[in-house]
Amino acid sequence: MISIQGSLNAWPARICGALLAAAWLSGAAPVAMAAEGPRIGSMAPDFAGTDSNGKGVALKDLRGRIVVLEWSNNQCPFVGKHYHSGNMQSLQKEATKEGIVWLTVLSSAPGEQGNVTAAEANALTRSRGAAPTAVILDPSGTIGRAYGARTTPHMFIIDKTGTLVYMGGMDDKPTTDLADIPTAKNYVRLALTAVIAGTPVQDPVTRPYGCSVKYQ
């Protein structure tokens, strides 16, 4: 880096800057770039975890199925919006009826809000009338970090080939107000409809909104 700068020191600053910018973007920079996050159209990051019934769940075993990942924290008011209204449960039921695998992922670290035991996770599923295929306990945040999950909820959809086809929010009304749900554009339902029909997802990347994932 120093040698590049040194060799260009005599150049007009504007040209030098542009060249440096080009050099960095082409990968010539001697420093490592930040790790790339998940990318639509690329293979979804692989993961293996354990669900609330002690069963192993590995993404590679789910090829041929559409997979939904839902990051959750039962005490987050943004999650509450979608569960108190029944919005999340009805989408889970619609999806699983279509053979879609719905995985609720809990990445709250021990001692943090939303960290629950396996038994508590199952009790929450029962009491809320939730219908995920499984609830994955991820207290180390390994799966969350692999997906760059930032909020609860934060939603991802993976198609039958293992390709990431949606990442983002539940809908386009980033509030905690239950009254916003009927008029919101539910990006996840629209994306699932498209994936089932084999058509492109209209809005494959949207802003996730909610509480921060309570990582370690």
Binding site: M1, Q5, L8, N9, W11, P12, A13, R14, C16, G17, A18, L19, L20, A21, A22, W24, L25, S26, A29, V31, M33, A34, E36, G37, R39, I40, G41, Q75, C76, P77, F78, G80, E112, Q113, G141, R145, G148, R150, T151, M167, G168, P174, T175, T176, V205, R207, Y209, G210, C211, S212, V213, K214, Y215, Q216
Partner: protein, 299 residues
Amino acid sequence: MGLLVNRNISASLSALVALFAFGCGKAASAAAESAPSEPAHVIIEALSDQQSVAPGQTFRVALVERIQPGWHTYWINPGDAGQATRLRWTLPSGYRVDEVQWPVPQVFRSGPLVTYGYEGEVVLLQNVHAPAGLASSPANLSVEAQWLACQDICIPEHGVAQVTIRQEPTAAQHVPSASTTVFTTASERLPRPSPWGASLAVGGASVVLTVHGIARDLPSSAKVQFLPLTWGEIDNAAQQRTVRSGADLLLTLARGDLRSSALAGLDGVLVLGPGSGQLQGQGFLLHAAVSGADAPRAK
């Protein structure tokens, strides 16, 4: 509405004057999702920078958030999580209010996540335009505020505050309110238009933001950080690499969730951090358009 806090500083004046509370506000706030007995984590107050308004005049209003220690509220771009404060003013007929002028935020890092917001006290300024025709009765300006207060956990809260201002249908005399210093201090915390131009080169995984000429004005020890105004363009948590090139400063920024989409430009606030000398703590509004021929195309 749960908690109601009157912060009427006109107590020594007559009851009538106190009722109109010239230039002062009344604050009220309530936690939406918490039990009625639990106080809100933010107390709000509405202020005006003038005691009276003349026809067609522009003046400023402020929403003050007093935030409980350890808690914070959010900038227009909250970053990786959270929610910006939302204000909805109810004004007399013919009055118009401009967008919120957001002060330079603080950067909060929590694990792998970065959010932008405010601790302690924040003042959100807005310009208000009075109509050409004014009644002679006082005008009541009311604001409904919704904010997300977060510590480790987040609680959505809301409140209503109002400020009353005299209307002077004939006079054009500007009479400052008792809150002038609040407005002066708040103005100093706003990002300023950048005196330095900026350009952008876009790659598949990162962008290089070049700020032209800034290196002439900044000590070499200066730490700077670019805060994007909108979601998805920049990875908030990624390290920002800066390198000087003559008079220019180049910032390499990892792209955000919208990394697969075209990017025509970038808007944000360049915050001058430790080592910036007299400019330390100041923020400058940057607009960087993709530069022409020398810009590599996104993959």
